[in-house]
């Protein structure tokens, strides 16, 4: 089926084999003319299936073959992630909270506790919401980074179709106490590279690295050590607004 969505103010035409992508993108549909088109073929689904199989083997997990419609959603986002590089935008793995007109991004390897921590924010601040729980797009406008909601938002699928100025990126780690401190870009850029969608083509990798470097111009970075006390949200917010 053929339809157009708008994410990060980029209009994307999608030609999908199954309806699931259309269902996933309900909140992002637009009538605008596409800036580019994403076509999915059977080989794209085969690629995603094999990638999932390799990752399961690498992590010593039992491999359950995901259904093709789900694999297609991954294939679509992979193609989007490559194409948006032409629009000063890129995909970074992390959870983004929206609060008081700003976006706060938390990134960490899987299993550290992004979901737990962002839930603390929702419990602590009544106006807070999850802009994207897993795979937001970051886009530059006039050199300023914006965090943008997308339908691809992890297991919980929490997302909102808006963009907010990115106030800070916080590297989440586990700690005995809740404490937050600013951290220099030079100390954390390898983590940012590790959490960013990595395209294959050299020129696309160059663009991605350039965007990560550009983040250092207008975005603040923090290292948050946190435990399972909900007060971690207050500590994090105050640390990033002190």
């Amino acid at each position: 089926m053929v339809f157009t969505i708008s994410i990060a103010n980029i209009h994307i035409g999608i030609n999908s084999l199954f309806d699931e992508v259309f269902d996933l993108c309900q909140d992002y549909l637009t009538e605008e003319k596409p800036d580019f088109f994403v076509h999915i073929e059977e080989k794209d689904i085969v690629f995603e299936r094999e990638k999932a199989r390799r990752e399961a083997a690498y992590e010593h997990r039992t491999f359950f073959v995901p259904p093709d419609p789900y694999l297609e959603t991954l294939a679509v986002y992979r193609k989007i992630a490559v194409n948006i590089l032409q629009f000063d935008a890129f995909l970074m793995h992390g959870a983004v909270i929206g609060l008081n007109g700003s976006a706060y991004m938390f990134t960490a390897p899987s299993g550290v506790g992004k979901t737990t921590h962002t839930n603390f924010w929702l419990q602590t601040f009544s106006d807070a919401f999850i802009l994207n729980g897993d795979k937001p797009i970051l886009r530059f406008e006039n050199k300023k980074a914006f965090a943008c909601g997308t339908p691809w938002a992890g297991k919980e699928g929490l997302n909102k179709n808006i963009s907010l100025p990115l106030k800070s990126i916080c590297i989440l780690t586990r700690g005995e106490q809740n404490e937050i401190a600013p951290i220099d870009f030079q100390a954390i850029y390898p983590i940012l590279i590790g959490q960013t969608f990595r395209p294959k083509a050299a020129e696309d990798v160059q663009k991605t690295l350039m965007y990560i470097k550009r983040l250092s111009e207008n975005t603040k970075f923090y290292l948050l050590k946190c435990n399972l006390d909900p007060n971690a949200a207050k500590v994090a917010f105050e640390g990033m607004n002190g």
Partner: protein, 89 residues
Amino acid sequence: MKLRFNFTIMDMGDEFAAVPVDEDAAKFHGMLKLNAVSADILEQLKEETTPEKVHAYLKKKYSDSTDDEIGHTLVNFLNQLVHEGLLIY
């Protein structure tokens, strides 16, 4: 000698980042953090070369360094690459 993988190198400010590209991106998931000299050496290793050629290149570029300093830096870095399985002899 030559790098096993195809890398792209980006100046990240105080350091350089080297990230595998093309089909090699799936074979090497990490990245290399490099100082300026190491980045220069890595750039030279994208094409088939010899330690002597790389040494000569570095000597020309870093003319205020001694032969020994350059040789020591080069050997150390080449050994690291060999240890990580990133260099083909």
